[in-house]
């Protein structure tokens, strides 16, 4: 298989205000200033899950619902929320107002081999990277729910518990309700759901960003949990989850 066109990286983070206008054209985490229009998450109903997660966080953090916040989350908000979580600057209640509880009983979304999907990437190295020679690309999330949760773990729990630990890829989708319930009940233990990673090249700055993957490639990652993907700097190893 030729992977040459299978992965496309969009670097969202602003490193300097000087470059803000240019980077915002590239898209992503500049709220209200620039948007990426070709975002296509695996789960078209991802907003309900993320809103449910944020509502649980807000309850957990004891925030009062912010007045007038009723807008629907934009695709690009995922990266901004991730950044806020990882930097502990998340403002509870600022993103969503309480919504009806999402329907968690949904089937894990299937992939179209020829389709292109957006995943969230963070800069952390999987636990197996200690031993291999290749470059570690980072951790990928096909579900924004887990990306935000991983960023929360890193920021508010102070541990790089950023790689979902599951029996298989389907399990990640089916246990979201339990996670949300544990957060709302203030009984959430990230070690129960994630495995600890190693700092990436950012030294702990997760630098969330969007990547585009072909359905075929994402499907292989679902099966193995770990895989080599082509990047502009050669092959790099990315992790989607860790088996338990």
């Amino acid at each position: 298989m030729n992977f040459d066109t299978d992965i496309e990286r969009t670097r969202p983070r602003r490193r300097s205000l000087l470059y803000l206008p240019i980077l915002c054209q590239l898209a992503v985490s500049c709220r209200g200033q620039g948007t990426r229009t070709n975002v296509s998450f695996v789960d078209p109903n991802w907003r309900a899950a993320v809103e449910g997660l944020l509502a649980a966080f807000d309850v957990s953090l004891g925030s009062k619902p912010a007045a007038g916040v009723a807008k629907s989350l934009a695709d690009n908000d995922v990266l901004a929320i991730c950044s806020e979580m990882s930097l502990r600057t998340y403002r509870a209640g600022a993103w969503v107002s309480p919504q009806a509880a999402p329907n968690w009983n949904v089937s894990p979304p299937q992939l179209q081999r020829q389709a292109t999907y957006t995943v969230v990437a963070i800069d952390a190295a999987d636990p197996l990277s200690q031993h291999y020679s290749m470059r570690s690309g980072g951790i990928l999330f096909e579900d924004p729910f887990y990306a935000i949760l991983a960023c929360y773990n890193a920021g508010y729990r102070g541990q790089l518990l950023t790689l979902p630990q599951v029996a298989d890829w389907q399990e990640a989708w089916t246990r979201r309700e339990k996670i949300v319930q544990s957060i709302a009940a203030k009984k959430y233990d990230p070690k129960k759901w994630f495995i600890e990673c190693l700092p990436g090249s950012g030294g702990g700055d997760l630098r969330p960003e969007f990547l585009s993957l072909a359905g075929e490639v994402l499907g292989e990652l679902r099966e193995s949990g770990l895989g080599n993907l082509p990047t502009a700097r050669g092959l790099a190893k990315y992790a989607l989850y860790f088996r338990r």
């Binding site: 031993h131 020679s133 470059r135 495995i195 190693l198 502009a232 190893k237």
Partner: protein, 288 residues
């Protein structure tokens, strides 16, 4: 001379390397048409390549005998341990300089270690073949030919007339047949490249094993043994069985790392031996 190897041993090794191991037939160019037996080499131009090969084998066997004698004796034909300084152009085996559990260990990998490129890498660095030359890109793979071409590009002379810092080190037929490293080259030391034959990571739920696709490097140290540094792990001269690496082609390269916390094993089976390279004495700076 103490290191002198009997002529008959050299002849046997030479003709043996031109004998098909399956059929036992000697290369027809070395057969006397009258007797049907092996013929002696001549001074003719047609035998020039054969004479070169014979000389290489002689040198190789003498080197081995020298090391074996100092190490307490050993059978000629085996790779024997050499005392420190026996390979004067190789870097010394100094794991403490690499295994600092900090800046050096976590910014280097097997490639940096093999090239003796210890510093100058970013935190979490993993210098990759081709980074230095800009040949590592979206089309890169972990196959022997692809990694080889990127490594040679990294070691290409900076300008015409300069020596290459990394060169291919082909095994001659005798060495190939006997899985022995190529002869030493003055001013250079040897490194070896291996890869996993799997190119995609696979998880085996039955054995709870991650079979990881990767590549790896070994380098020859000044004591004649070989060592490596897997990823951000510690540098070591032991193979997967815990034995001192005396030959990277024949050592146990089926590495397994069991994590008792998760019960998961990571397997890195570098079962494909790609070949040897010469690296200039002192090493070659790699990475971007």
């Amino acid at each position: 001379m103490a290191n002198k190897v009997p002529m008959s041993d050299i002849d046997n090794a030479f003709y043996g390397s031109y004998t098909d191991p399956k059929t036992g037939k000697l290369d027809s160019r070395l057969v006397d048409p009258k007797t049907g037996k092996r013929r002696p080499l001549t001074g003719n131009a047609a035998d020039a390549e054969f004479r070169k090969e014979w000389t290489k084998i002689k040198k190789h066997l003498e080197e081995e005998k020298k090391c074996a004698a100092k190490a307490g004796g050993g059978k000629v034909g085996l790779v024997a341990a050499c005392p420190p300084g026996a390979k004067p152009d190789s870097p010394p085996y100094e794991p403490a300089k690499w295994n600092d559990k900090g800046a050096v260990q976590n910014s280097t990998n097997c490639y940096a270690y093999a090239m003796n490129s210890r510093t100058g890498h970013p935190a979490d660095g993993r210098p990759q073949p081709g980074d230095k030359s800009g040949t590592n890109g979206p089309g890169s793979t972990n196959t022997c030919p692809d990694v080889t071409s990127r490594v040679l590009a990294d070691g290409a002379p900076a300008k015409a007339g300069d020596p290459a810092s990394i060169e291919s080190a082909p095994q001659c037929p005798y060495q190939k047949q006997n899985q022995l490293p190529p002869p030493d080259k003055k001013g250079y030391y040897l490194v070896a490249l291996v890869v996993t034959s799997i190119t995609k990571d696979k998880y085996d739920p039955v054995t709870k094993t991650y079979n990881t696709a990767d590549y790896h490097w070994y380098r020859q140290d000044d004591n004649g043994n070989w060592s490596g540094k897997p990823g951000h792990d510690e540098a070591s001269d032991k193979d997967a069985s815990g034995k001192t690496i005396t030959n990277p082609e024949t050592c146990d390269r089926d590495e397994k790392f069991f994590d008792p916390k998760t019960g998961v094993t990571q397997r890195l089976n570098y079962d494909r031996f790609c070949g040897y390279f010469y690296v200039q004495k002192g090493g070659a700076q790699v990475g971007s």
